[in-house]
Each structure stands twice: as structure tokens, then as C-alpha cells.
Symmetry: C2
Subunit: 389 residues, 2 copies
């Protein structure tokens, strides 16, 4: 792993490894090919939440082999078009988006997820407009609510809602109407199988392509239904090199972590046994020791409770060291031990890879503060600059 | 509380109430005056971390009565100068900042916190430069490490380090050298008294002004030492209307919350008893009920574990309702109950004030997910637009 030379001399930063992102997409392509060699399976690369916190500008260039990109806001669609993305874009969470926005021709080929009956009402109003004022390349995906249960249509609502989409297709408003499902428990093979079967039953013999997926499903047991032509799979977390499967890291699956988060030591102090560090006396030195402090904290998106069980990598060698006291707003401290040789200016790695390549999987860090990699990635704030490698 | 008319029709947003911020600063001024009517006490308003997540552009206009502003990066100093702030700026966490940056005359009257011996070495190098290349209005504050222990000088290091600053004053490099301390346990009156006494002992008869404070100390028991002329107090969290004292809200102290976080319902679904909502089956309806989903999630800075004990306000009336299942990346769900009358488009308030004025204190929300208001404020990401009211 190389650290770019343009890193800040003060302040923290995150390195985004573009090659890792393109590798992870290729990894998925190969896996899909082996599972379903005869049928083209298309891939939506999900780049919502600024590419899971990795930044659209850093990420999109690495996703040229995707068939489409998935986002959650019309602003993101426009941002992608400005970045030159010409292939389809899937607009998830489209409920609440005004019909006029959908008609904007600068959005290009738009695939709209239908989560809610009022969206169908809106589309039916659009279908009554003169052709010149209608969207030209609009595709729709009806969401089955399923076990996730928060958005979409349930088993009794699904077929009637789909009939309304088919009528809109007949009227020429929409190019295609497909079936979309998002799994609630894809980490568990049995739960996943049950969700897949339920969705297949609900869709039954209705025409149109399918879109399912999510990283846990794609990295776990791939389904038979992949063989169905025209299937559009959605992948998110795995593109960034993290595993959605509990107890497994992305690297163990063959993925490459795309993000490393770093800061520099701004102080190294010698503490006598019994001395405290941090707010509320959360750390007391059990022996004489060196404590290093780095200028990164919860205002950058590092969870405040990470200190309890977590560790970081320090120095050029990427030596693992425990936290010393609670993470503060702008800084955190590490127990470097009695024989520490680290100095002010040395690099600290919170997750990802240290300069010499030593790895601290984001999944390990997330587990140490009872969360998941996706929350760590997307929780980074604008105060943490992203730098491409 | 008024909600501005410019709020997004989709997507979440936060409202920043400028009047609340200026009120909170006045509240502190009055309190200081009552405690120490004879002596001018100056106030550093701390606006690090983009004004605790409230945005510098929204906050600085409300802080014109502060004597100075405190930040953590040279970039923030430049940003404040571009915004027209002409009074002093305190640069906390200045360790690691290069000497050349300090010399930039566009930084104006800069107060540098000295956390680390290498900063003294740098200043001594600057003092050997011709006068034309030196900073012109540089003030310094030596940090006592104290119980926080992460940055600064301990009891044996303090006086010799201060002598070096006094020598730099004699040489004309620095205008003034003062004494700075940050409390580790100001929430507890006894711990605070011990920290204050310790600091006073360490400083002893050394000349120069003091800077202490922090919101917990200023909202709790104010010290006798306030009477000392030239004391510069630092306040942060309380400016934004939140309390740093456990079990107390800002409103209970007389402060006004400056931030409200909102989203809109994008779906309202009827669930049968036994049906699930959210990833990993974290919620199962115990009775037939309405579940509303709002497009705000952990990618905006809402803690993923908030659902466990938290509640939100919903609709124009600000009715309190519990979460239904784990907070997801882009959305969260609420159990609206069997008799709900809320609709798609209705406003949800995560903390702050609902449109009709109903309050959900940020301290209550923070406690429900085992953190503090400052982490919620500064954890908001760039995907949550801030709107002034």
C-alpha cells in the first residue's frame, strides 16, 4: 500500500485506493461469471452516501465497468452526469422526489425505484401530459417491501401496483418495469433463502427484469435465480473492500480495502503509573508508559466509544497499540507502552493499511465499537479530507 | 420556533437558530458579570469543528459579542478572517503547525496554544529571523497537561517551558504569554475544584493571564479566580444551547438549543402484528400498527444504535414516537401506533424543536444512545444541509 505524497502535514486524512475499488468490481464480475456463465448479469454499483464515504470523484473513475450506478438523491444523479457518467442511474429512495425533477432530460437514463403509492399517482399524472413534457428514458422498479418492511408494497399490494406500472409502459411513459427487493437478513443463509423464495412467489409470472442483491448476498451464497437473463444485481459495501458477513473481513473474501484513515502524533508524553489520560478519567496508566496523542477525534467521524476495546496502528511499522482513554472531539490518545520509540509526526492508522502495509481491517474496528463498516465509512465528516491513491 | 420556508422538499436538513447562539453568549456574559462585576472577563467562543457542527457561516454572525474565537486548524483561522472576523483567534491543537504558517500576516492577531516542546523550538528559531520575517501579533498560551494528560506540560516541565516563552517575549517575538488549562472532569464539582487548585499551584507566581473554562465548568460552579483581571474563559458546547452537565438539559439552565434536525416521512405503511421492520429483524410489531419511514440515516450522522431506546417527534404536533428497528444508512422507521394520522411528507424531528415548538432535547437523544450532545452535533455529515433560521 502506498501513501500519497500529498498528505497533510497536520490534521487527519483518509486515503482512497481507486485500484482497490476496480479490483473489487472485477472480483464480483468473475464470481458472477462462474455462477452464471451463460447469462449476462448486470451490475448496479451503489454509490449512495458519497460512495459510502469514499467520495464520488474518487470512486466513479474506478467503476467504469459497472452497468449503472445507484444513488439516493436527484442531486447525486446530476453530480454523476456532471462527472461524465453516461450509463443508467438507479434512483433509490425516490419517494418524495417531485415529478418535474424526474422529467429533467439532463438526468439521462433514469431508473426510478417505486416505494410508495403516491409515486404511481405522480407517474399517472405525467402520462396525461403531452409527450414533449414527459421524461424520455424513464425506467421503473417496483419495490417489494418484504421482511425489511419499511418501503415498498406487500404481498397483496404488489400485483395491482405492478399492473399500474405496466399500464404506464403501454402508454409509453416508462420504458421498462422491473421488480426490486432488498434483503433484511442476507448475512444468514437460511433467512436469505426464505426471502428469495418469498420474493419469487410474489413476483410469480409477472413480466420484467429483477433487481436484488446487496453485498452480504453477493459475497455469501449466490442464488440460482442469477441465471435469469436481465437480472440487475446491486452491490455496495463490497465495492469498498469491506465484508457484510459477520466474522469475515473483506480481505478474507479476496476483496481489497479501499480506505485507510490516518492522523499524525502531535504529542508523545511519558506518564507515571497511576496518571490519567482523557475526559472522565477513562484511562489510568497501570505502569510507567508513553502516551501518544493524534489530532483526530469524533468530530471527524471516529466513534467516541472506540477507545473501549479498539486499537490503532502506529508508526512506520504499523505497530498495534490500544487506546488510552475516551476519544475526544479533535484528538485521541494511544498507550504506546514503556519502550515506545514513536515520535511527534509519526503516522497513526485508525483502519485500513499502515504505510508499510500492515492491515487493520475496518470490520475489526467496527466490531470493537459495536457497529458495522458502513457506519464508519459514511460517518466520516467533511473535516476529514479524502486523498486519492 | 420557526421553521424556515426554504427547507428541502426531499432529504433531511438541520435548522440553525442564530438567535439562540447569541442568546447563549449573552446568558454567559450575565452570569460572569454577576460572579465578577468588578473585573472584565473575556470570552473565547470556541467554534472548532465547524462550530460544533453548526457551521461557521451560521454561527459567527451570532458571536459578535465574543472577545475572540477558538479553532483547531490554520484553515479555520483563514476561514474566519475571510468571514470578516477581526478580533483575536485562539489556535488550539497548534502542535504540528509549521512555523511559516504562523507568520502569515493574514492570520491577524493569533493566540497560539503551546502543547508540546517542539513548538517552543520552532518559536526560538523564528526569534532568530529578521524582524520583517517574524509574526507581528503573536500571543502564546502554555498548556498545563493536568489530569487530561494528553497535551501540554506537567508540573515539573511547566515553569521551565514558561521561562522559554518569557524569553521569547523579551526578544519581541511574542506579545504575551499566558497559562492555559483544560479540565478533565468539570462535570463533578469536587474534581473541578481539585483541578483548579492544582493549576493555580503549578502556575504559582508566574506572570501572565489565565485561560480556563469549558462549558461544564462555566455552567456549574463558577470559580473565585474569575476575579483575576485578564482572565480569558473558553466556552463551546453551551453556546449551542446544550448542557455538559449530566442529567441537565441546556433549556433547564436557561440556554436555547441552536440546532433542530429534521426529515420528512417518505412512506407510511400498515403492519400486522408479528411483521418485521429493519435489518436483522430488530423490530417486530407487537400489535397492528402504522410504521413511518423518514429519509435520514447513519450516513447523515444519526447513530445507528439510536433506535434501541430513542424516540423522535413526528408531524406538526411533534408527537413523540419510538423507533421501529435499527437506523439504516439512508432511512429510519418509527412506530406511529395503531391510530396514527401522519402522512407522507410530514416532518420528523430527531432532536431540537418540532415545527409547533415541542422540544426533544439533544441531551436526551444523546443519552439514549450512550453518547453526548457534542458527538451528535459534530457527527453530522456533509449530506445534511444546514439552514439558518
Amino acid at each position: 500500500m502506498t501513501i500519497p505524497t500529498s498528505i497533510p502535514s497536520t490534521g487527519p486524512w483518509a486515503v482512497i485506493h481507486r485500484n482497490a475499488i476496480s479490483h473489487n468490481l472485477s472480483w464480483l464480475r468473475q464470481r458472477l461469471y462462474h455462477c452464471s456463465p451463460g447469462a449476462p448479469v448486470r451490475v448496479w454499483a451503489v454509490v449512495k452516501a458519497d460512495a459510502y464515504g469514499h467520495g464520488l470523484t474518487h470512486t466513479v473513475p474506478a467503476l467504469q465497468q459497472a452497468d449503472g450506478l445507484g444513488v439516493t438523491t436527484p442531486d447525486d444523479v446530476r453530480r454523476l452526469r456532471r462527472q461524465g457518467w453516461q450509463k443508467p442511474i438507479l434512483l433509490l429512495s425516490a419517494s418524495g422526489v417531485r415529478a418535474e425533477e424526474i422529467c429533467d432530460p439532463s438526468l439521462g437514463e433514469l431508473h426510478l425505484v417505486i416505494d410508495e403509492p403516491s409515486q404511481l399517482d405522480q407517474l399517472e399524472r405525467l402520462a396525461r401530459l403531452p409527450e414533449s413534457r414527459r421524461p424520455t428514458r424513464l425506467n421503473t422498479w417496483l419495490r417489494y417491501a418484504g421482511r425489511l418492511g419499511n418501503l415498498g408494497f406487500d404481498v397483496t399490494e404488489y400485483a395491482p401496483a405492478f399492473e399500474r406500472l405496466l399500464a404506464l409502459k403501454t402508454k409509453g411513459l416508462v420504458v421498462e418495469a422491473g421488480h426490486l427487493h432488498h434483503y433484511a437478513g442476507a448475512e444468514d443463509a437460511d433467512a436469505l433463502r426464505a426471502e428469495r423464495n418469498e420474493f419469487a412467489t410474489v413476483v410469480g409470472r409477472l413480466p420484467g427484469p429483477f433487481s436484488t442483491g446487496n453485498s452480504a448476498a453477493l459475497c455469501g451464497s449466490l442464488p440460482e435465480t442469477l441465471r435469469q437473463e436481465g437480472h440487475w444485481l446491486r452491490c455496495g459495501l463490497m465495492l469498498y473492500g469491506a465484508s457484510a458477513l459477520p466474522g469475515t473481513t473483506g480481505a478474507q473474501l479476496g476483496l481489497r480495502p479501499a480506505m485507510s484513515v490516518h492522523a499524525r502524533l502531535v504529542a508523545v508524553r511519558y506518564l507515571k503509573a497511576g496518571q490519567n489520560v482523557g475526559y472522565g478519567d477513562t484511562f489510568q496508566a497501570q505502569r510507567d508508559t508513553w502516551v501518544g496523542t493524534a489530532c483526530i477525534g469524533y468530530s471527524h467521524g471516529v466513534p467516541r466509544q472506540l477507545w473501549e476495546q479498539g486499537h490503532a496502528l502506529v508508526g512506520p511499522s504499523g505497530r498495534p497499540v490500544p487506546y488510552a482513554g475516551r476519544v475526544a472531539m479533535d484528538c485521541l490518545s494511544l498507550d504506546l507502552g514503556p519502550n515506545a520509540c514513536e515520535q511527534v509526526g509519526d503516522i497513526v492508522t485508525l483502519w485500513g493499511h499502515a504505510p508499510n502495509g500492515a492491515a487493520l481491517p475496518v470490520e475489526t474496528v467496527a466490531a470493537s465499537c459495536s457497529t458495522i463498516a458502513a457506519e464508519l465509512f459514511t460517518g466520516l465528516t467533511s473535516r476529514l479530507p479524502l486523498i486519492s491513491a
